[in-house]
């Protein structure tokens, strides 16, 4: 039987097990939307902006491990979703994005709402397709899902011209595809794994440095087994949070620019770095030439280009983290015989000393303004029993969330790491909520970044996605303000957001619930009330605006040279800028 391109599209999505489609219509995709209108079992979530659709698909993918799917129209629809594609590419999120295109005979004529979608998306997708013939549509969609979800995951774009969605073809869905230029390596080289095992068995001060790859490959159990067997401390990147339990005694928390003191000291003074599914990002390495100067480096990653890109690696292992670690554990079991505890004792003593010396701290005066760290810490403590999914936007609140949310399991942490996309958090949380309607989904946002995709509150209300948004409201682009205080003598060029809207009224305007914690004693009640509320909620938490996020490794600095919250030079600097007392700026919004 012959089907139209639009019908083939929908059939293919069903065969791929797609349940939710994040979409916004437009002229050239109307045929597809018309078919979707008559479908059951495929939820279409109509977003208010294509960027929202892209981030929702990302949130869905990060929380479930299944590909997120978005459908947008040609021209502006496509160009609006580009940010989400770049974000997904940087953070290896499996995404299949379908864009409409003008009819094949119009391509290149500067037709209405035409854009070079393939050209636009080439540098920000793992692969992209322009479907010129309806007979190729089914196999193209199969290939798109295959490429997005295998190897190092990433976004794939399929551009569908209007006539392709209208024309008819016989429909058969291929059972499998093979692409001769694409063969990811899953099994690690056995000899290299043996080398790695020998290095681990000998190391006195080893450290595991795990990244997002551990989450994608589902290697959390293996990391835990390896760490426990060999008593290795586990440093996590921003992308890995939750891949190893945050409250586990071997957990060091997050490393990097705003990582914990001990996580960064440990990586600097280690004699063996075991990098798993991580990519030596500049926010982790700091100054490359002085990154862990005493250590041998083992690097396990499925993407060969990640290896030796920024840092010299002694033992590279290309492969899937889970399979390589499994093999490595087998080899180690045969050799180490559990004698690692004594060997690692001095190392752990040192780490405990670092932990005692500079724990994460902040001062919360019970009558003073709310400190952002305190709000986030309370949010964590009050919700942890419910194992929430937590998304963040980008900035200070993101780093504090990373420091204080000690997640016990993977796929509950949605954040924009590589690209640092403000406006990611809220739609990503909605995407996760669409996948898990009964789970508690929190979005920790800043007053700056939440406004970048605020329009999606309408989507949340209509589609009953009860995300709880906690706005850490400091009336600043906080991280920009922090850098200006530290490196630009306190000149707040374009970082002041004093004209921030009233978030309670804004929530109400959309038909959601708005709450506000005006003082420290309100926090717990308001958070509990938000959780107890059906439907989406914005909790506005006006906080002390001049709080800085520490520890901090200045860009290009060394990992062991952190600015700490209690450093006297820092206090002097802030005083010189005239920013030490909480009374500097009204901390409660005028209602």
């Amino acid at each position: 039987m012959k089907l139209t391109g639009a019908e083939i599209f929908v059939e293919c999505l069903k065969r791929e097990g797609v349940k939710t489609l994040f979409a916004l219509p437009g002229g050239v995709v109307l045929k597809i939307f018309d078919v979707l209108y008559q479908q059951k079992g495929l939820d279409v979530i109509l977003t208010r902006h294509e960027q929202g659709a892209g981030h929702m698909a990302e949130g869905y993918a990060k929380a479930t491990g299944r590909p997120g799917v978005a459908l947008v129209t040609s021209g502006p629809g496509m160009s609006n979703v580009v940010t989400a594609l770049v974000d997904a590419y940087m953070d290896s999120v499996p995404l299949v994005c379908f864009s409409g295109q003008v009819s094949t005979n119009m391509i290149g004529n500067d037709a209405f709402q035409e854009a070079d979608n393939i050209g636009l998306s080439r540098p920000c997708t793992k692969y992209n397709f322009l479907v010129k013939d309806v007979n190729d549509l089914a196999v193209t969609i199969k290939e798109a899902f295959y490429i997005a979800t295998t190897g190092r995951p990433g976004p794939v774009l399929v551009d569908i011209p209007k006539d392709v969605s209208m024309n008819k073809a016989d429909f058969t869905y291929p059972g499998s595809v093979s692409i001769r230029g694409y063969n990811p390596t899953y099994e690690g080289n056995k000899w290299q794994i043996k080398q790695a095992a020998e290095a681990i068995a000998k190391a006195k001060k080893p450290i595991l440095y795990i990244g997002g790859g551990v989450v994608f490959s589902g290697a959390s159990e293996e990391v835990r087994e390896l760490a426990e067997m060999c008593q290795i401390p586990v440093d996590m990147t921003l992308m890995a949070l939750g891949a190893f339990p945050g409250e586990h005694p071997l957990s060091m928390g997050m490393m990097g620019m705003h990582g914990t003191y001990w996580a960064n000291m440990a990586v600097h003074y280690s004699d063996l770095v075991i990098a798993v599914g991580s990519r030596f990002d500049d926010r982790v390495t700091g100054k490359v030439s002085e990154f862990c100067p005493h250590a041998k480096i083992i690097h396990i990653d499925i993407d060969p280009t990640s290896i030796k890109k920024n840092i010299h690696v002694d033992i590279p292992i290309v492969g899937d983290c889970k399979r390589v670690l499994r093999e490595l554990i087998q080899v180690l079991k045969a050799t180490v015989n559990g004698d690692q505890k004594d060997l690692r004792k001095p190392w752990w003593n040192q780490i405990h000393e670092w932990q005692r010396a500079h724990p994460l701290t902040y001062d919360q005066d019970s009558n003073g303004p709310i400190k952002p760290q305190h709000a986030i810490k309370r949010l964590y403590e009050l919700t942890k029993d419910r194992a929430p999914i937590v998304s963040t936007d980008v900035g200070q609140h993101q780093m504090w969330s990373a420091q204080y949310f000690k997640l016990s399991s993977p796929r509950r942490w949605l954040t924009s790491g590589g690209l640092g996309t403000m406006g990611f958090g809220f739609p990503a949380a909605m995407g996760a909520q669409a996948a898990f309607p009964d789970k508690l989904v929190l979005c920790v946002a800043g007053d700056g970044s939440v406004q970048m995709n605020m329009q999606e509150m309408a989507t949340a209300v209509v589609h009953k996605l009860p995300v709880k948004v906690i706005v850490i409201n400091n009336r600043f682009h906080g991280m920009v303000r922090q850098w200006q205080d530290l490196f630009y003598e306190g000149r707040y060029s374009s970082s002041d957001l004093s004209t921030t809207p009233d978030f309670v009224k804004l929530a109400e305007a959309y038909g959601a619930v708005g709450l506000r914690a005006k003082k420290v004693s309100d926090l717990d009640t308001v958070i509990k009330e938000a959780i107890a509320t059906d439907g989406p909620v914005i909790v506005d938490v006006p906080v002390y605006p001049y709080e800085n996020c520490y520890p901090m490794i200045p860009a290009g600095g060394c990992n062991h040279e952190m600015i700490l919250a209690d450093s006297p030079e820092l206090k002097k600097k802030m005083e010189a800028n005239g920013k030490v007392t909480p009374e500097d700026k009204d901390t409660v919004l005028t209602a």
Partner: protein, 172 residues
């Protein structure tokens, strides 16, 4: 250091821009690039001349391999190879220079493929040293136009000494 990289790719639209985009997006050099279909019409062969230290060349090879339309990547500097380039050179030839132009053409075993009363168009093929030497010699006559193909290269077939050849095992 200069490297010549031979890349087998799918012969379909957009592949060249993927390769070129990779080089520009990651700040790698392209000194020259030439591309044409292979014996198998579904594939094309690119010869890319690039430069960089070992770390950069390793990244270039890995990044090329990562492209889904790339089937095979060979860094020819790791083996023996031969390279050729063709240049078409249009030189001004005043009456008194015509004999000199002919002599140079002969020395380089080049061909004159077009001739007008005031110009010769000369075709020269060879390794880059030869092509550049010829251009240098013709320059004093006045080069009106010059077009070069960029280099193509191919690995030499390895000639092993007879002793090193694997022994033939008799099959039952």
């Amino acid at each position: 250091m200069e490297h010549i990289i031979s890349v087998t790719v799918e012969n379909k639209f957009g592949v060249l821009s993927r390769v070129a985009g990779l080089f520009s997006g990651r700040g790698f050099n392209i000194e020259s690039l030439s591309v044409a279909p292979t014996l198998d019409p579904t594939m094309s062969m690119m010869t890319i001349v690039t430069s960089g230290d070992d770390r950069i060349i390793e990244q270039i090879v890995k990044q090329l391999n990562k492209l889904i339309d790339v089937i095979k990547v060979v860094d020819l500097n790791e083996t023996e190879f031969v390279e050729r380039e063709t240049a078409l050179i249009k030189v001004h030839t005043k009456a008194e220079d015509r004999a000199e132009a002919l002599r140079i053409t002969e020395i380089f075993r080049a061909n004159i493929i077009d001739s007008t009363p005031s110009t010769y168009t000369i075709e020269v093929t060879g390794d880059i040293k030869k092509v550049e030497a010829m251009i240098n010699l013709l320059q004093p006559l006045g080069i009106k136009e010059l077009i070069r193909t960029g280099r193509v290269a191919i690995a030499r077939e390895s000639i092993r000494p007879a002793l090193a050849q694997p022994k033939r095992v008799a099959k039952e």
